[in-house]
Structure formats: C-alpha cells, structure tokens
Symmetry: C2
Subunit: 456 residues, 2 copies
Amino acid sequence: MAENKIPYKIYLNEDEMPKAWYNLRADMKNKPAPLLNPGTGKPMTKEELAPVFCEELVEQELDDTTPYIDIPEEIRSFYKMYRPSPLVRAYCLEEKLQTPAKIYYKFEGNNTSGSHKLNSAIAQAYYAKKQGLKGVTTETGAGQWGTALSMACSYLDLDCKVYMVKVSYEQKPFRREVMRTYGASVVPSPSETTEVGKKILAEHPGTTGSLGCAISEAVEVATKNPGYRYVLGSVLNQVLLHQSVIGLETKIALDKYGIKPDMIIGCAGGGSNLGGLIAPFMGEKLRGEADYRIIAVEPASCPSFTRGKYAYDFCDTGMICPLAKMYTLGSSFIPSANHAGGLRFHGMSSTLSQLYADGLMEATSVEQTEVFEAAEQFARVEGILPAPESAHAIRVAINEALKCKENGEEKTIVFGLTGTGYFDLVAYQKYNDGEMSDYIPTDEEIAESLARLPRV
Amino acid sequence: MAENKIPYKIYLNEDEMPKAWYNLRADMKNKPAPLLNPGTGKPMTKEELAPVFCEELVEQELDDTTPYIDIPEEIRSFYKMYRPSPLVRAYCLEEKLQTPAKIYYKFEGNNTSGSHKLNSAIAQAYYAKKQGLKGVTTETGAGQWGTALSMACSYLDLDCKVYMVKVSYEQKPFRREVMRTYGASVVPSPSETTEVGKKILAEHPGTTGSLGCAISEAVEVATKNPGYRYVLGSVLNQVLLHQSVIGLETKIALDKYGIKPDMIIGCAGGGSNLGGLIAPFMGEKLRGEADYRIIAVEPASCPSFTRGKYAYDFCDTGMICPLAKMYTLGSSFIPSANHAGGLRFHGMSSTLSQLYADGLMEATSVEQTEVFEAAEQFARVEGILPAPESAHAIRVAINEALKCKENGEEKTIVFGLTGTGYFDLVAYQKYNDGEMSDYIPTDEEIAESLARLPRV
C-alpha cells in the first residue's frame, strides 16, 4: 500500500477541538416546527417544558437563532477523555473496492458506551448537575444511549434510572451489566413501576416493549419525582446541538488537509448522529458558501424519511410527550421482530425533517442483509467491527464508491461510523449462520399506524 | 479540572511511529535460556523449529544479538489502521484519588480484538503469508488472541484455525462469533480433531479444557497439515519482540514531553504485554542509562513469578512442545474455576523470567475481588471498561498512587492498559452481584504440579 500525505487517522490536537457547539437552526430559513402541547395544540412554553427538562436544556431546545453556544469547560474536559475521535481515511477499503473514490469516516466508537451518544449524555447530565438535581431518567433500546448516560452520571455523581426496552433487556444482558457497573438502575420496560407501564401491560400483556413506550415511562418518573428530569438521546434539537461536535471536528480535520467532501453520509434513526455530523456542512450549504450531497440512510424496515408522513406526532407510545412535527410512521409503528439493529424509532428529528422537506438533503433506505454484508466487508479490511446502525452508512458509502469506480470519478465520501458492534453479536451470529432475513413493511401496515396520527 | 500542558491523550504522528522492533535480549548479559528438545535435552535448532514456526519467526525466536529488527512496510501499514495507541494521562483518576502522583497509561484496547494481541498477530500472519503458507493454527483462552489472529488472517487472506478452551467457547459465544465474522474456524478444545485431544478427553472425560491443552492441539494440527504453521500469542521471544511496539511508542510519547517515569507496571500472564511495554525502558536499565522500577502484576490464583519455580517446563499440557526455562507452576497447573480473568498460563516468558531472576524487575500478585474493585473505580472516572487482565495493573497503579499520597511523593507511574472488558461481562456481573470470591492455591497444590516438572 503506497504511503500518502493524508495519514490513516487524523486526530486533532486538544487546542484544535471545538469550543462551541454549532446550532444549525440559526442558519435555517424555514425553522423546524415547534413542539406542541398535545392538550392545547399550542407551542410548548419554557414553563411547560421545565418539569420535564433541565432549564438550560429547555433554552437550548427552543433557541433557533444563536449560531454558536459555548461548550462549558467541564464538558470540554470530559470530551478530552475520549475525544477527539479520529477521522479515518479508509485506505484499506478503497483498495479492496478498487475505487478511485476517497473514503473517510468519522469513528465515534472508541469509548465504552461504544457510540457517539456520550457527546450529548455528558452535556445533559452536566446541566442537570448544575441545576442541583438528584438524577435523571431515560429510556434505551439497543443500550448505547443508556450506557452513555450511565457513564456521564457516574462521572458527575448523579442518580440514573434507565428504562430499557424489555426485548433488549433480555437479549442484551451485557449491555445491562455495563450500565450497572456504572451504577445505573436498569428497569425492563414496560414495567409495573409507572402508571403508563401498567396501562400498556394491561392492554398488551406479554409485550416486549418499544422505545416509545420506554420514553413514556421515563418521562412519567421524571415528572413525578422531585429533583429528577428526563433526558433523551436523540430526536431533540438540543441533542443535535451537542452532537454537532462530531461534524465540527470532522470539518476542522478536513480543512487542515484541504479536503472538500462531495458527499456526507450518515445513518438515521432519530437523527442524532446524522444531525451532528452534517451540521457545519449543512450550515455552509444554507449560507450558500458550499454545496454537498447529504444522504440519510435508514433501514427499509423502519423508513420514516422515505415512506413516512411529514406531520405532527407523538414521540412516545403513551402519548404523554409533546407533539413534534417530523417524518413519522406513526407512534404506534413498531419495526418487524426480525429487525436486528437499532434505528427503530418511528419518527425523525424535527430539524432534519424540515431540511429534508426543503430538499436540502436526500434519504435512502437499505435492507438488513445487505447492511450486514457491508459490515462484514468493512470489518475485514478496516479492522473495526461496526454497529449495525453504522453499517447502514457503510452500505451506502460502498455503493457510492462503486458508482465512482464505474464512472471513473474521484469523489470524496465522508461517512459517520457511529459505533462498534461488540454488543450486537447475536445479530452477527444470525447473519453468519445465514438466518437473517429482510422485511419491508407493507403500505397497509404503514397506513394503519399513520391513521392514528393525532389531529392538530 | 485545571488545564495542563500535557494533553489528556498523547498520539504520535505517523512519522513518529517506530520503524523497527526492539529486541531486548540483545542488551541482556544473561540471555534467556534456550528452548530445549524434550527428547534430546539439547537446544532446539532452526531445523527442529521449522516444522512448527515460519522460517522468519524461527530466526526472530533464536536471535538474541540483533537489537533492532525492521518492521516490514506491510506490517507498518496495518499498524496505522489501529495505531498509534494513545498514551493517556489519567487526570480524572489522579483527581479521584487526590494523589500527587502523575499517572499515565498506554491503552491498547482501541481495536476490535480489544487488546494488544493484534501487534504480534499481524506480524506472525505476515511472515506466514510471505512464506507462501496456506494458513496458521493457534489456541485461545479468553479469546483476545484468537480474535486478533482472525483479524490479521482475514486481512491477509490466510486460513485460520483456532482451538478455543472449551469453557471459554461455551461461556463466550460472542468472542467466538467475532472470530467467525473474520472468517476463522473455531474448535472447542479438547476436541476429537486431534490425537492429543482424544487422549486428553479419554483421560479426563468432561474436562472443560485449558490453554496448555489447546496449545497441544493447535501444534499437532500445524505439524500434520502441509502448508500450516503454529502461532502463539504470548510467552515466546518473537512475541515480545513484536510487542515492543507498545513500549517504543510509549517511550517516544514520554520523551516528546520530557517525562521520565519512576515506575512501569504491567499485568503478566505469559508476558507479552509486559515484555513489550517495558522493552525500551529495560534496555536503558540494562545499558546503565537510566533506572526504573518495573513491576509485574499477576493473579494470586496463578502466581508463576511469585510462587513458581525457575525451571525447564513444557509450555503445553500434551507435552509435545519444546521445553522452556521459566518461572512455572508446572504444566499441569490449572487455576481455580472461580478465576474470572485471563492471565491463567502456568508459565512465563523466558526473557522476563531471566530478568526477574537477575533482580531487574519486581513481581507482585493481587486477588481478583480487589482487581475488579479497581476496574470499576477506573471505569467510572476514566470512561474505559477495562479487561480484567488490565485491571491487575490498574490495581497496583492505584496502590502505588495512594502510597505517593501518603508520602507526599510526586512520582510518575506508567501502566499498561492492555484491553477492554466488553467480552468479560459475565465476570463483571458476578462482581456487581457480590458473588465473586478469591482463591489462593495452597502450597500443596503448587508442589503437586511442580513435582511433575520434566527432568532435564
């Protein structure tokens, strides 16, 4: 393999790391639609959000005008524990594909939570601590967010209650154990510990839970217990703000070597990684300073962008959260049981939804067997076993690199490698044993859950 | 936390990475004792070793005079995929302990094998490929070495057969699955696929295997199948040579900031990590250029340095391998079933054994509950869930840092954090549930296995 001026991994120095998050909304002409109070149908006020979220996070949630928000020094110190994350030139993958494309990926998996989720977890925990709270509650599906939050809370000595989707709680005991090692209490959801949990269990005995249902439980506990607030790992504007550190580091690293990407690819569940990765690039696009293709990749089994409706919907199954305007499959939509990876949220970040509605980004969906095929190919040449979520982006990056090969184009592709697959080996085993299948929901299934959208 | 001139993580630039391995033996006055042919009692010749190991690795195994051996460019390219590994200043741990000591750790866990083992795996696979072989065989206990070798072989398109200690094969299905994802075939040991396996099964029906037994099987398969050789992840001189990349990078990073360590601490099973980490520092000590305290940490349940005998012994249970002179508990010694982590080999690298016999390094043993206590404390403040093996070094580093606190000494401590504990959560669960216990072998137990040492 030839030596090259661009190193395999670009690490920023500490003094090059971002000192402020970038608030993409400030540069959007069409702002993301506000959260609505499901009772009144009117935009949620600070006062209404305050029982659910910490004060400073409410400010961040509602602020769509301030372009840069300082990262508090305590959070920057914590970031230095596991950041900067490397921007990796995928020389080995390029060679394997024999493509003229130049492929880079921003790898967020080098921390014990195994993903980018820690970027927002420490921020949300920090503001909770600063407000003098006792603890926070949250939900987790695959477990990356719950692990990240446990790590952040343990560091700041905050109590952490995690409602974990029951099927994951049972199938991923190791994830649960990492959270326990970090001192969190982990409850399988739906549970008997909340009113909404009891109601769901009564209506659907034997249910293995869903993210939407775990959110309802965590919100209930936060609002009923003094000194607690609820925190969420994706979807919200504040989360995209914190995750902008991914994109900012990526941009600084690329600029350092004079690299201008042609396209930026990220997987999209609730939108936290994608929104963070693309933030500064989308900012340039919005300000007319540069142009990029920006591609969201979602699973064909949970295709909110590509087959959902842009409408107000609940973020949770229990319908106790505010309404968000987003591309949604309906809050009662649950991906097929054969779906192995994450990215199973029925909706999508309001910010990304508005950008998509405005034609500023593309979206595509991929099936899981082709995703695991890409994951294995990537693992074998790049040495990192990717999370199934991240492998959605790998799949499309490889597809685009192969198009470059066909057309002889030397495009520069950047994608987000959000995390590692060390806790997803049940899914890899299925794939290795040839027992993985695909499932694409029918139009009728989607129409059925969309028929239950709230009327606003 | 105050800003400081030393960054949280020191990453070398690519052009600062070592271009040659350092062969510690070249600077030793008392050379490590040679491998002996168990039949003749005479030193193994190149010709005798050639059916077992690749030619160039035989050269490296026997070479105790050349101080630097070039790292082939192909291996350096592979290293760039996951190296340099960071040298981390443990600011958060220091603050937690309120110690004046300065603590650094070299973190080798940021690759999918989860440990330093990849450093030697790629080297051994490379020389096998260069020799035109079809494949390699090996054994694995906890699975880190097997995973590392699978990754290296998949990269170079070599066949890889792994004999995995049966108890690990059953208790760590995810480790097995990672190896399969990298295309390796994994066989639980003892197995019916070898003569030695059949014999052991006949003598000990229902045995859950041991590292020594898996070695015997892997060696048998390598020597009976044309185009195959055996590779080993620890103990051997060649492995310590390859692992010197850990110490060399550490030394370059420390020198860059003018840091002189007072002590270097590493866990010791077969000695691969410790031998690699200390290599350049021990070199300076041997040449009289500097002095360091060098501390090997082993489990109290498998205390080869601290309670073993310095004598010739078999490396394997089947007694088909050459004899090595080393601190050993006897090749029939198997650590208590309650032993959770790795570091369960009955012997120790000949190189390290000679250095220890010559009083050039210290050794200490720790019990596993105190090890997991240190692991949890470290994980909570440094954000990395450590492998139980690595946590042995953490335990002693913390102990030394607390002594510094007591004595008001600003010592600089460097320790090796060999890997992550993502596949060790059964052990963490035991610890979290308060079900972990300690076991120290009795003098009688050790005497019993030592009584079976071969007569040379």
